[in-house]
């Protein structure tokens, strides 16, 4: 078995695509139209385009428990997932300038530095730098 796709639930796929590409800097890899307005929509890291894909899946729109779970995590400030960065402070400054809202400012936790932001699609996302 291989790890090829990891999914993030999003409330609005088009809005998510815009945020994950234009703001976070991922690039679109696969976009397959499915039923109604739903798509199989994945993004990848620019430098690792053959690496794992993030599936922006519209589950909160169609499956009530997914919506409930997503909201509970969000309200508790718990990140849905995390991405690694070279420098948390620099990434924080860059995203802050683009108007991204942070619920945890850059914080050292032992051997890592973390920060948590709102992805505007219903999730908190954590960025991590290994110290």
């Amino acid at each position: 078995m291989k790890i090829k796709v990891l999914s993030i639930p999003v409330q609005d796929q088009e809005k998510a695509l815009k945020f994950y590409t234009e703001t976070l800097g991922f690039i679109k890899k696969v976009d397959v139209p499915l039923s109604e307005e739903n798509r199989w929509l994945t993004v990848v890291n620019k430098e690792e385009q053959d690496g794992a894909e993030i599936l922006l899946e519209p589950s909160p729109k169609h499956f009530e428990p997914a919506k409930t779970y997503q909201k509970a995590l969000f309200d508790a400030g718990i990140p849905y997932t995390q991405f690694n960065v070279e420098n948390v402070q620099q990434e924080y400054d860059r995203l802050n300038n683009l108007g991204v809202e942070f619920s945890v400012n850059p914080t050292e936790m032992g051997t890592v530095k973390i920060a948590v932001f709102n992805d505007t699609c219903g999730n908190k996302i954590q960025i991590v730098e290994m110290l």
Partner: protein
Amino acid sequence: MTFYQKEINRIKGICYSNDRQIQTVIGMRNYIENNFDKELNLDLLSHIRFTSKFHLLRLFKKYYGQTPRQYLIDKRITKSKIYLRMGMSVSETCYSVGFESPSSFSTLFKKKTGKTPTDFQKEQFSQSQSKVDS
């Protein structure tokens, strides 16, 4: 304050309260990052940090979840992928990242990535060629 922020503070207090230990392992990781192409010298490291090398090994594993040796191998493999992509030969890559024998490098590379360095390199070139063609 959110539940998560409270948890961060709680876990910090439990797991990361020993600043001296943390500075020691961070220093060790930085040393490996900058000297991955050399033989890992725990005697030197323990000398700098005024502590026994067995203690250093235990600390590193406690905070990073990997032994320094495992960490070093991963670092070397990551770096060798970069060198192979740049077109460096397999044996040159092997020595540049600090391995001593091309055959054991190839075996280890295959174990970690699923491909031999030669196959990995061929694949990279055919991928970049198809990008140029398309």
